[in-house]
Amino acid sequence: MTALLEAEELVRIYEVRRGIFGRPSPVRAVDGISLAVMPGETLGIVGESGSGKSTLGRMLLGLDLAQAGEVRFAGSPMPRNGTAEWRAMRAKMQLVYQDPLAALDRRLTIAAQIGEPLQIHRLVPRQYQADRVAELMEAVGLRSDQAGRFPHELSGGQRQRAVIARALASRPKLLVCDEPVSALDVSIQAQVVNMLRDLQERNGIGMVFISHDLKVVRNIADRVAVMYLGRIVEEASSDVVFRSPQHPYTKALVSSVPVPGKPLEGRMILQGEPPNPADRPSGCAFHPRCPVAQDICRTSSPALRRIGDGRTAACHAVAGETASIETMRRMA
């Protein structure tokens, strides 16, 4: 089976000037990332703010240009941003946003907005458009009497449903969801996550699910990639990653998830903050916060390597390149 979406060595660098005195310094938001999404598969991408996960999501859709590397959709390369082919391509891949209120036009009814892709891509004759919109609304669990509502008249969860209905209107093959449930309350979050799972199963959509919430990613994703400062540090099936994380950063991340009833003691708490992306540490970017860092970690950047059970990780210690395997065992 060929991959629905393939990314190869994607790089995205921003120029950021810090302070009046500062020279512009390059920020490598996405730094050589390769990944693939199979049809009907969900790839979760987790990471903290500044890890470049949202930028990656936009690059996968061809919304942000890759400065190096290539994105291929169903085997063919992404057309240039803004061209007619690029616009036509939008029907096949869609984005779901973190803030549905901002992503909706507050002056149009949600029915008009859900129908918009149908008009843009001329998918459905005008007289059948209303039927298709009604069908979409039902699929995401919106009542038909809500068709004439404006975005601000709906609750957060209903707005996100409308955004998802709009994204599904053109029957896309790929859905990139950027923090789609972070702004929602727990009880509503569960509704939307369930709905996404159902829709995906029913329509066989490939999905990239970007989130900082590990619990949600674990629930929805088949495979998970963990990002730190623009690079993937560990990737494996969702069950494997969460059951036995290998990279020290993944371990800390999994350990930091507050579980009801689980006390704080005995959890692995990282020291320090994620470094400024413009000030990337030498060697392994994680080494200043890493509890098992060795000399080699300060000087050489570990490559992403296959380490069994379909897992890849970028860590000298995991790869057995340091003397601290003992320490790693103790952590695990």
Partner: protein, 338 residues
């Protein structure tokens, strides 16, 4: 007085309305000295408003009624100067968005020294030394060099540490933390929770932890209040509530959380949405979303009553006590053992 009345803060029938729309419907709540109380609920349930009202920090259009006693002293309708004495001195508060909660045009050193001046009369070098000690205590590295920096030169997590240092300056008896970790990354969130626990052990102050995150609450609190639509629906010890939630809403909250371990099942959401405070349903506000509701739930609001096991509960059709919550019980058991 402290011996006869151990309660530090006592709220009785606290009601708040904005422009005639009632958002708090009579909150009864006590905080004992040194205890850690969690306040849980979804957005708009009134958990923050309760404490902003208690400290008189709501805007002028809010109408606050009821009784707010701190060490027996009535604050509701009190003079501004009385309130100012309590704020920061007896009860300090930190907020959800640390970066915008610090004054952007003032140096952070000055903002901390200001609090030291008001509550402890420290000035000059003494104030600076004490401020540096506080910065060190909350884990700001290299404090002397960063004393004269501005808030925008700190990250979100560090700004929250600064807020905590400022709150500690008045040596308060109670720290109210309003969603202090919501805006922060997972690993930083864990650091701040850890810091709050350490500080409480060190100073013995009480803590009110307002959050929508049941996991975070269970890590820092001993007692939990669950709020829904401006009312407390269930209150009890963390162990009690987490092993056996009795209110269907509490139960629903637990079920809705995805799990980090175990099978990847479908989630169990609470159907429907939080009601608009302008159009609250009749009777129990939760009844339209409640799987256990009967007709009676839609007509009268159940009062918050003490149960045999020490918890308080406002429900006519609670989740049966022993049988159903085996799953949650197993969960808490696992957790406590780990």
């Amino acid at each position: 007085m402290g011996t006869t009345n151990p309660d530090l803060v006592e709220l009785r029938d606290l009601k708040v309305a904005f422009d005639g729309v009632q958002v708090l419907h009579g909150i009864d709540l006590t905080v004992a000295r040194g205890e850690a109380l969690g306040l849980v609920g979804e957005s708009g349930c009134g958990k923050s408003v309760t404490w902003l009202a208690a400290l008189g920090l709501l805007p002028g259009k809010a109408a606050v009624t009821g009784s707010i006693r701190v060490d027996g002293r009535q604050l509701c309708g009190a003079e501004r100067s009385d309130l100012e004495e309590v704020r920061g001195g007896r009860i300090a508060m930190i907020f959800q968005d640390p970066s915008s909660s610090l004054n952007p045009v003032l140096r952070i050193g000055r903002q901390i020294v200001e609090a030291l001046q008001i509550h402890r009369g420290l000035r000059g070098q003494a104030a600076r030394t004490e401020a540096l000690r506080l910065l060190d205590m909350v884990g700001i590295p290299d404090a002397p060099r960063r004393f004269d920096l501005y808030p925008h030169e700190f990250s979100g997590g560090q700004c929250q540490r600064l807020m905590i240092a400022m709150a500690l300056a008045g040596e308060p008896d109670l720290l109210v933390a309003d969603e202090p970790t919501t805006a922060l990354d997972a690993t930083i969130q864990a650091q701040i929770l850890d810091l709050l626990n350490a500080l409480r052990a060190e100073t013995g102050m009480a803590l009110v932890f307002i959050s929508h995150d049941l996991g975070a609450v269970s890590q820092v609190c001993e007692r939990v209040c669950v709020m829904y639509a401006g009312r407390i629906v269930e209150e009890g010890s963390v162990a009690q509530l987490f092993s056996q939630p009795r209110h269907p809403y509490t139960r629903g909250l637990f079920d809705a959380i995805p799990r980090i371990d175990g099978p990847r099942d479908r989630l169990i959401p609470i159907p429907g949405t939080v009601p608009n405070p302008k159009h609250l349903p009749a009777g129990c506000s939760f009844s339209p979303r409640c799987p256990y509701a009967v007709d009676a739930c839609g007509s009268t609001y159940p009062s918050l009553e003490f149960q045999g096991d020490g918890r308080r509960l406002a429900c006519m059709r609670p989740v049966p006590a022993v049988t159903t919550s085996g799953e949650a019980k197993r969960r808490i058991h696992e957790g406590l053992m780990a």
